[in-house]
Symmetry: D3
Subunit: 243 residues, 6 copies
């Protein structure tokens, strides 16, 4: 199968990093196609960044559909433009936050989320509510590590992240940790070893869910909310969407 | 004061229509500046339409700020990009759905919403939840009138809308009606006369709230969730946001 | 327009204070008629005080209706007897807590409430739930300043109030402050200057909402929950309500 | 023990009726003292009626305390002034709606409520929410029988009530019926025989709960929310509350 | 009346202890029959213990029905197998957690729960949600006292329990205390004296509710959720349930 | 990997059926070991059946752990004893209802559940709430097909099931269908073809999730809620659990 793995920001180093993570857990016949949009912010750390990133992200979804991919993954913890992407895709579209919550809830009663900037906490809360996992989350903690600082992680950054995970466990009662940024994808294994609880990275979780849906022949329902958008005119930079 | 009244779709007729509605209730010293984005869909009827419209809508917010407006109104019932707009604006940003829910809750115990397409019902439900008005809403009803059909409303369209309002009252127990599309703005008065309950249009509601905030010197808090986004690089069509 | 501004307690100093606040933001053609009931407690700090105050408060609503006012404001943060008042009034009835929550949610993502006595905290929580703003409130904090101590505020009282506002911001993540007592009405401006976040006083918020509804010709729905009460006999001190 | 059984409306026939119901289930050493306030409406069918009735109801609570009763019952399905009464009482105060919900939840998974006027439905919903029984209620149904029509029930009224109970069972899935008015107290037995499900009357439920609390020496907590109100001045008709 | 008082664990000392508590508050004509299952764990401190205990507990329910008891009490704070028991019983089945929550809510606005092991906290939270008392609970606190340590309580154990109750009051705002284990049944009186708030033991609460239901002729509804299970074959150790 | 696929009822035909379903989607190196408990009911259609089935089901979990399986699946739509099983297992334990909800939410906005007996509806509602999917479910519909009737499905049974799925889509707005019984496992493909929406069977969903967790090295957290139960004595038929 072919998976359209989308890094919604324009940081190429991040795209490569998550491609490596995804490939490391993919089945032999799973082909990971990693890319990022041509237009948009170099990192996503606010509702504004997310809104801007969403427009070009949808181009990458559309390209994937045209190239015949079997599933799409939106590899940013805010799961930006997920509903919009599902409308234009016939294949499944998976957000890494939702994917991580699902697997975390299978191996723990309550999981903690450890994420980047303090100001993204309400966004994480909203995702937990959107997906229905609020009562299964022991708390969301910010590290105030900038997304791009995760491109190449130094010792201090790792320690800061690990310390916040430990507080999630000891203070909040987290029984597993969900990593709240695609850029933390390569740290899950080491953290898990040191913390003695399951540590879930959404990127690899999404890959396994994409494979699962593909093997079960499950595609996005085109009845109701995720039906194709009505054909209409688009102007300016978005004329290519006109039908 | 100056109000930046934004029609987030690119239909010029709709922009003119809501400008007239807004002007009709504005105080003498309120100057309505109505506009729509250069880029995007001609109407907003799906999550996809909304995601595409959001990017260029934020340009119009930014322009308003630069022109020294005192408030912004996003005149589409989905309140698209509201949080993103509040991040980049120092002046208040008001969505017409939120504005309508607020005034409706002051004159009724439970209000009904009558909107356009069936597939937008989940979006309305999400807005009610976002703002906290779910328990005060007797139900959301779709008319399956396309947004652009509202540009110039014929007799049949009006009757279909009125009939759904009547069902909201008699079947759902609605005590007031919120009109679920900016394009219905000019029908509030006539419907109210015929239905004998308050009928609330979000466009005029938002104008009065914008004036209220201005007169009380209340601006968007720049602490926390609506703080200015971090400066960073943007690529391609969004390079103008780079700092 | 004429606004029936009701201080539900019998403290005349408080009535004068809120009249000044209301007048300071009213439009030139808005006439504020401030009064308080003849019967009841000198301050409202418990469910008991509120229950007793409610009976005579309704007389003042009725008098306002007979005098042809265009809106009523119940200027006590518990919004006492709001539903009952809306039943007997044809004009809008606005509570200051609900009004403050509405405007606070337009300029912040999450607001904090700073109020008087610890024992009124559950009442504030109930109001947040009644109106649907619980998820938008970062917390309610008590100062244990008695309501009557607010009649003339000394330096220590002001500092205690300000300190609690600061804790709401730094500890709870409040992005705006709602003042939880009509008696704090004259402090909003100074606090806002010093705290660098929006500070919302419900009295002035309610005045602007009353003007807004009036300008939009919106009155209390007489269908459903707020229909006129059935005519019936009343005994004793309430015989004047018999019909 | 002595129970202060309060009919909050001024209809003497209703007081006598509920006294008979209460006495019929009381233990031999339970003394029922039934009374109604001197001031207020002859029946309670709106928020307005309830607000007016509350003031004088609190006098009856106070009198009961002074007479050394062991518990108070507020015998109106809206449980008016319950929190206020608990503040001024040291002995337990029980509302008949809350009492009925409790016992109904012990003998069924989901119970239905059948009440009087359509316009009281939101009040019932609010009570279910206040007490936490919303998810255990299959629905609230109105009969539009006026409260005073229950003083002496004719065949048609009984049939209308029974029919609505049957619909609650067959259409809503009610497994037990809660009677939504103290005036229906004498019908529980006959309805239960005919409906083949438990039928719960709040008046008798409250009597048993009052006896239960008394036998366990449980009184209203005077810590926190139900602490004695602060002493203060009251004016006019309520001067007797001044301290 | 006869009450089938079931200690779901196999610790005989615990059975005797709760029998004494139950008898101490029972009416003269209430006959308490205390017993415990033949099969199962000596204490219940996990979901696993509860699942194992449930099977044999249902035998004791069945025996009680055959012996003609008038009510059943499941005297373990997890209320294990309550729904299953109600299905096979025609008489009321009462869990001690649910019973304690009910009475606590009659004498306080918010109660705290003080229980045994930390790992049972989610189970208590689930019960609060199942019954609808989550918003009326100020918090659940664990003492990490093992259930069997409660069989004969020493000074240190009592002090640890009392200290946690005090913290529930001073830190969480508990206005009453619910004891979270049947084994604490004999401590309610002494704790109540020392804490100056109501202390509710579920065992005695359940006895009074059982008597209340009996005196009102209320039995488990056999319509809907608690209808008799369908007759079917059972194998192995459960063949006696085959019909 | 080895999966311990448990049919919690004692119907051997059902065990064989779900084994075939599971095997049909398993990866080449996944070994399905299907079994059912020695003790318990031949089908699970009530809380009573579920409570009885749970005890012996835990033996099968324990045996699987001892045989070195890599994951356990509880193949009954009530997900019986899930928390208890997770406590005693170190490998992941997956319930088929939870698994189906997860995959359904990835390919639809709102899914419908079509299940067996009407009396199991509250159990399904409880599962939706337990897992947090209530707001994503358009409704649960019963077919009143007995579980054992699904062992070999005739034309009429299939048509009844299909008809209820169609009503879920057209009346409730279901965009995907979750099959509410392991015994329907072999019908998912045919129904999906005919209904034109995704149809999700929990058995195959659970197999893919078990494989996913295994490939990611994720096991049940042994911190907190799912820690090993405390060692203790068990009596009678459960003595083998004593430690």
């Amino acid at each position: 199968m072919k998976i359209n793995l989308i890094n919604p920001n324009t940081c190429q180093g991040m795209t490569e990093k998550i491609a490596i993570s995804a490939q490391s857990v993919a089945l032999p016949d799973t082909h990971i196609i990693a890319s990022s949009p041509l237009h948009g912010p170099v990192s996503i750390e606010s509702a504004f960044d997310e809104a801007i990133a969403s427009a070009a992200l949808l181009d990458v979804i559309q390209q994937g559909e045209q190239q015949g991919v079997d599933a799409h993954i939106i590899a940013c913890f805010g799961d930006p433009a997920l509903d919009a992407a599902r409308e234009i895709a016939t294949k499944p579209v998976i957000g890494i936050a939702g994917a991580a919550f699902q697997l975390a809830s299978l191996v723990s009663y309550r999981f903690g989320v450890v994420t980047t900037m303090t100001r993204t906490l309400p966004a994480s809360q909203h995702l937990l509510q959107r997906y229905g996992y609020q009562h299964l989350c022991s708390g969301v903690r910010a590290t105030d590590i900038a997304v791009l600082a995760l491109e190449s992680i130094d010792h201090n950054t790792y320690q800061a992240l690990k310390k916040e995970c430990q507080r999630a466990i000891s203070e909040d009662g987290a029984e597993a940790i969900v990593l709240g940024c695609a850029g933390m994808s390569d740290l899950a294994h080491e953290l898990s070893q040191q913390l003695a609880v399951p540590v879930i990275d959404g990127v690899v979780a999404a890959v396994k869910l994409a494979e699962s849906l593909h093997q079960l022949n499950l595609c996005t329902s085109k009845q109701g909310q995720y039906a194709k958008p009505l054909a209409k005119a688009f102007q300016g930079n978005f004329q290519h969407w006109s039908q």
